[in-house]
């Protein structure tokens, strides 16, 4: 089987210069060296070193940075950025520093930032592709990511756990379990579970792991090298198979027979095992009791009714007392079955038999070439010296090689991701591709300075967040001067803050929040669906519901059929690595805000909340509504317009038989407010 896409990149792009011939190392592969801080004229603007790099470029272009954002805009932006919720009406804004500090200390921070990471690792609660089997245990990995961000787990440690958690030492069982859960990163990919060619299936799964690892952690497309030497990035085919050998030596699947089953690591304690055993014994005993009871009752039936053989449904002819006793026994059995302890498992990998793979010529597993000793791509890092031992998979060594300060890509890729999540665009716009065909950094010195700073500061994501958020660069207004529009039309120089539409999850969470419906309970198994069962089969019936009022991160992510609100508002395809979400404006979003049951339900709840709250005067009610939705006071004109709208709407509604009184007209107003640009965009 030939990897056709790889050939596509060969044929389409052969006209471009290749790396190997140049003798100059591609920028992303040079060692990270913190550059000196640049000199600037407008020193008063500088809040921290980030600003020096940004301002130096602006001054070169003879541009002034935008003035600081209003406190209202900045507060809203920080809330969205750090916790993905709106400021409440009573949330005060003393200073950016205090707000940043407070928000980062809330558990909602981890939920917001975990979701970014889940985009990158193509997290989903179902397999997608051909057979859409449920990942009913994927949520443990999701919760692990939330906890990791909340505890500010050093990024290098975070990566070690996800690539090789099962091979790391642990001091206690909780840590062992955490480490096992983390390896879900490698197991969560979409797989062709009904692929009849089993070798192909196995190589496709390995390819998916390598591709995800490459793009998510190193910003490199390694998958191409499956069929040919990578034309633009320095990964020859033999090194691809040397790397693939590490995953071949890793157990990801338990069975390849249709429908194939992925591996899950057991998380049960000896006590839980014992408990389960005991419970199984109880169940068996109860079943025996019931069988004996039926046997006796049947005998009795035969004798009492002088029958030769039992009727088809003998229990219907038992005496009332016997039937009641049987029902009681069965009831107990059912309760026991319902209470059966479910032993916990987590999607993840473990080491298999250590083996080397041959090169498969042109990606075809039926034409093997020379055997490749397991190793890492030479050009992508200098860390590894010792060869991988014959008896280990090499996954731990791979993890250490990636999570190393000597790896030129790991820190650069992550600081760029964090920058993207704060600014809507990375310093390297192609967040998942730092290769020859990716975008070049707009601020290469800043990128390297941040990468160096990140490693020096213990790979702490929270510290990096704080550094960026406390910069004058971040705190600018989104208003662009005419000069900026002319000389920096696409905001490549960060001459202003970006105008951004809120993302799908903050949109949903905000609607639940203002209508007082939001349930902030954290973690756990929210979606009840049997593991491995198909979420969609030939009936096309959707058994998944999204009715929960919990935060969006806890809703099921179904590949091939993402929740409509998510899909409409640019939730990424959960089958692929996504560091940069697009932001579209399409009519079906309008239909959603106008007509969806979710928007009607939440706006009705918001209107009900308004009508139930004291005081009752329309003007005060409108003030309250503005505080909840926009976190500001309405102007006199806005107040007048809003009240007029409610009045006119009520008049129109009065003509209908089914009019709902003031609730309807206030709901109509609420719906307009949450559909407005002020609500949907961050300034």
């Amino acid at each position: 089987m030939i990897c056709r896409l790889a050939i596509a990149c060969l044929i389409l792009l052969t006209s471009q210069p290749t790396l190997s011939g140049e003798g100059v190392t591609h920028w992303a592969l040079r060692p990270v060296e913190k550059p000196p801080l640049p000199e600037v004229d407008n020193k008063a603007w500088i809040k921290n070193p980030v600003d020096l790099f940004v301002l130096a470029r602006l001054e070169e272009a003879d541009l002034e940075p935008s003035p600081p954002a209003s406190t209202g805009d900045l507060q809203r932006r920080l809330f969205d950025d750090l916790i993905g919720l709106l400021p409440g009406p009573d949330d005060e804004f003393a200073s950016p520093e205090i707000t940043i500090h407070k928000l980062m200390a809330t558990p909602q921070y981890g939920e917001r930032w975990a979701r970014h990471w889940l985009d990158v690792v193509r997290y989903a609660d179902s397999n997608g592709l051909d057979e859409n089997a449920a990942h009913a245990n994927a949520w443990r990995y999701r919760d692990y990511v939330v906890q990791s961000f909340n505890s500010d787990k050093p990024y290098d440690q975070f990566l070690l756990e996800q690539i090789a958690g099962d091979l790391l030492p642990a001091t206690d069982q909780a840590q062992t379990h955490t480490n096992l859960i983390a390896t879900g990163f490698l197991a969560l990919g979409p797989k062709v579970l009904a692929e009849p060619d089993k070798t192909k299936m196995e190589m496709d799964i390995i390819d998916e792991q390598i591709d995800t690892l490459g793009r998510a952690l190193l910003g490199m497309t390694l998958g191409c090298a499956r069929c040919h030497d990578h034309k633009f990035d320095p990964v020859p085919t033999d090194e691809y198979y040397a790397l693939a050998g590490i995953f071949k030596s890793t157990r990801t699947m338990d069975s390849l027979e249709t429908t194939a089953r992925w591996h899950e690591n057991s998380l049960s304690t000896p006590e839980e095992h014992k408990l389960k055993e005991n419970h199984d014994q109880l169940l068996a005993a109860q079943q025996k009791v019931i069988a004996a009871f039926i046997e006796k009752a049947n005998q009795q039936l035969l004798v009492e009714h002088k029958l030769k053989q039992l009727p088809p449904k003998p229990e219907e002819q038992y005496s009332k007392a016997t039937r009641e006793e049987l029902a009681r026994l069965q009831n107990t059995l059912e309760r026991l079955q319902a209470d059966a302890p479910v032993l916990p498992f987590a999607m993840g990998v473990t080491d298999g038999d250590a083996t080397n793979l041959p090169v498969f010529l042109r990606g075809n597993h039926e034409t093997p070439g020379a055997l490749q000793q397991r190793r890492f791509p030479r050009a992508l890092g200098t860390g590894q010296v010792d060869p991988i031992g014959d008896d280990v998979s090499g996954r731990l060594e791979l993890a250490q090689w990636i999570a190393s300060q000597d790896n030129p890509l790991t820190a650069r890729v992550m600081v760029n991701r964090v920058w993207r999540w704060h600014f809507g665009r990375g310093l390297v716009a192609t967040t998942d591709n730092f290769g020859k065909l990716g975008a070049k950094p707009t601020h290469p010195e800043l990128l390297d300075w941040l990468a160096g700073w990140f490693v020096e500061n213990g790979w702490s994501v929270k510290k990096l967040n704080r550094l960026i958020l406390n910069s004058a660069t971040y705190q600018m207004s989104s208003q662009a001067s005419p000069e900026a529009i002319e000389r920096d039309p696409n905001n490549q120089l960060f001459s202003r803050a970006p105008l951004r539409r809120i993302e799908a999850e903050p949109l949903r969470d905000a609607l639940l929040q203002i209508s007082n419906l939001l349930d902030l309970k954290m973690g756990g198994y929210v979606w009840t669906f049997p593991n491995f069962k198909l979420v969609f089969d030939h009936t096309s019936e959707d058994a998944t519901t999204y009715a929960s009022n919990r935060r969006s991160i806890y809703l099921p992510v179904i590949r091939n059929h993402v929740y409509s609100l998510f899909e409409l508002f640019d939730f990424p395809d959960p089958s692929t690595v996504t560091g940069h979400r697009t932001s579209s404006t399409v009519a079906p979003q309008g239909l959603f805000l106008m007509n969806s049951p979710f928007v009607l339900r939440t706006t009705e709840a918001l209107a009900t909340r308004l009508l139930n709250e004291e005081p009752v005067d329309s003007g005060q009610r409108l003030t309250r509504l503005y505080a909840l939705v926009y976190h500001r006071r309405p102007s006199a004109q806005e107040s007048k317009n809003g009240i007029t709208f409610v009045k006119q709407f009520a008049e129109m509604d009065n003509d209908r038989d089914s009019n709902k009184g003031p609730l309807a007209s206030w709901q109509a107003l609420c719906q307009v407010l949450i559909s407005s640009n002020e609500f949907l965009y961050l300034r």
Binding site: L437, H538, P588, L591, A668, Y681
Partner: protein, 463 residues
């Protein structure tokens, strides 16, 4: 740099242009979309109706007559079966249905399709189709997207990207009652293309066609007049909030609501088929409970086409086993064929009468065919067969009354006039005036195509 005037002009142009902000953003990212300004070739078709027979109808029981198979019933297949198959099969199984010749061209059609058989002079049969994967999901994804192990844009999305829409109030790509299994949304998705190019589903296969609606197209609570009032107030709020200079993003948002509002009338209007004559209802089989459901889908397809929708997919997929007869072939295939025969014939007839068949391409296919070898305990089933199967086309630019290619004497492997799925895609785009090698989209540093690096236009079938 795109000026505000450009934005307003483009936004006014149509449904598609509303997604302008994502285009702007992609320019920043150097992931440039390359919309087709002019067709590469003279288009022979303006629009496509794709009749998808989910499950895999058997070519040797429908449209490709194999007398040798009838003679050698029960014998061993005299050559090797594929190395990798979906499931084992036994010896040859003759078709339980009689084939007779039809039309001027004298094409053999089995008694499963007596109505479609009347239209063979308008149909071009491709008997040498072949794909790569013998499992439903992968084969379906291959047929719809050209890829079976990656998520890629679907053919309708590519066509939408290349040609856009002819009707500002409707989506360019509609899929009626699609199946959610075996690739689900990805079979009509846009993958990395901007969101606006993905298909718009009208419910899914679990919903009877008469209840199928576009998502969120109606409001259970407000009248249109009330919504108008809301949108007017929204417009006022947004106008007050737009600072100077105008942000294109905010402007597009305002327009997207207006388009949504118009769609609330334009979409349901298409589905209200009361204005169609009784003869038309009958023509599509709406008077018969067996054909009513698929007939309605076919009629909707025609109504969408008439109003400028570019690509309409109609899926024949029910809650049972579709065309997937590993056993019970006699009953299953007879039942499936009876559900679609009249509606498909009615659609062809109707398109022809209305002069639409000239520039509408109708395509009929499953994700694969079935083996001529037997399966199942009662010797009444066939396995999946991606190595050789039949697809047919009618209308827009193809030669009617012809056949192209053939499988071997038993119907197992495509042997002559082989047409791979990639070749089908290349031909489909060609008929619409698009060079499949030139319709590309840059993503993640690569220029992608529907046909990847493959695909040859099947010139022999062009009229």
């Amino acid at each position: 740099m795109i000026s505000r005037r450009d934005i307003l002009r483009q936004t006014a142009l149509g449904f598609g242009s509303i997604a302008l902000t994502s285009l702007l953003e992609e320019q920043v990212l150097a992931e440039k979309p390359r919309e087709l300004k002019n067709p590469h070739f003279v288009p022979r078709a303006k629009r496509v109706i794709f009749l998808f027979m989910k499950g895999g109808p058997s070519q040797v029981d429908t449209f490709e007559y194999k007398p040798q198979l009838q003679r050698d019933h029960g014998k061993e297949l005299p050559f090797a079966k594929p190395k990798v198959t979906f499931a084992p099969t036994g010896n040859l199984l003759a078709s339980p249905w009689r084939f007779t010749q039809h039309g001027q061209c004298g094409h053999y059609v089995s008694e499963l399709f007596p109505q479609v058989a009347k239209h063979v002079d308008d149909i071009c049969f491709l008997h040498g189709l072949h794909g790569t994967n013998p499992a439903h999901g992968a084969a379906s994804l291959k047929l719809h997207t050209g890829a079976d192990n990656f998520v890629r844009p679907s053919m309708g999305a590519w066509i939408n990207y290349g040609l856009g829409t002819e009707n500002a109030n409707l989506p360019a790509f509609v899929t009626i009652c699609p199946t959610l299994g075996h690739g689900g949304v990805n079979n009509w998705g846009g993958a990395f293309l901007p969101a606006k190019f993905a298909g718009t589903p009208i419910s899914n296969a679990s919903v009877p066609a008469k209840n199928a609606r576009m998502h969120h197209i109606t409001n259970p609570q407000w009248t249109l007049a009330e919504q108008r009032m809301q949108l007017d107030f929204l417009r006022q709020l947004n106008r007050d909030q737009i600072g100077s200079p105008v942000s294109s993003d905010l402007e597009s948002r305002i327009h997207s609501f207006e388009l949504a509002f118009r769609m609330q009338t334009s979409m349901p209007e298409i589905q209200e088929i009361g204005d169609e004559s009784e003869a038309t209802h009958k023509l599509y089989g709406l008077d018969n409970p067996v054909t009513e459901d698929f007939g309605r889908q076919c009629l909707l397809a025609r109504r969408f086409c008439e109003r400028g929708v570019r690509f309409v997919q109609v899926t024949h997929s029910d809650s049972k086993v579709q065309w997937d007869q590993h056993g019970n072939l006699r009953r299953g295939h007879a039942e499936k064929a009876s559900e679609v025969d009249q509606p498909i014939a009615g659609l062809l007839e109707d398109l022809k009468t209305r002069g639409l068949l000239n520039d509408t391409l109708v395509v009929w296919s499953g994700e694969f065919g079935r083996t001529p070898t037997v399966q199942g305990s009662d010797n009444d089933g066939r396995d999946h067969n991606p190595w050789g199967f039949t697809m047919w086309m009618a209308g827009g630019g193809v030669k009617g009354g012809t056949r192209h290619g053939a499988t071997d004497e038993y119907g197992f492997y495509a042997e002559r006039g082989k047409v791979h799925i990639h070749d089908f895609h290349a031909t489909l785009l060609y008929l619409l005036g698009i060079d499949h090698e030139k319709l590309t989209y840059r993503h993640g540093g690569r220029d992608f195509r529907l046909t990847d690096v493959f695909g040859n236009v099947v010139h022999d079938i062009l009229s």
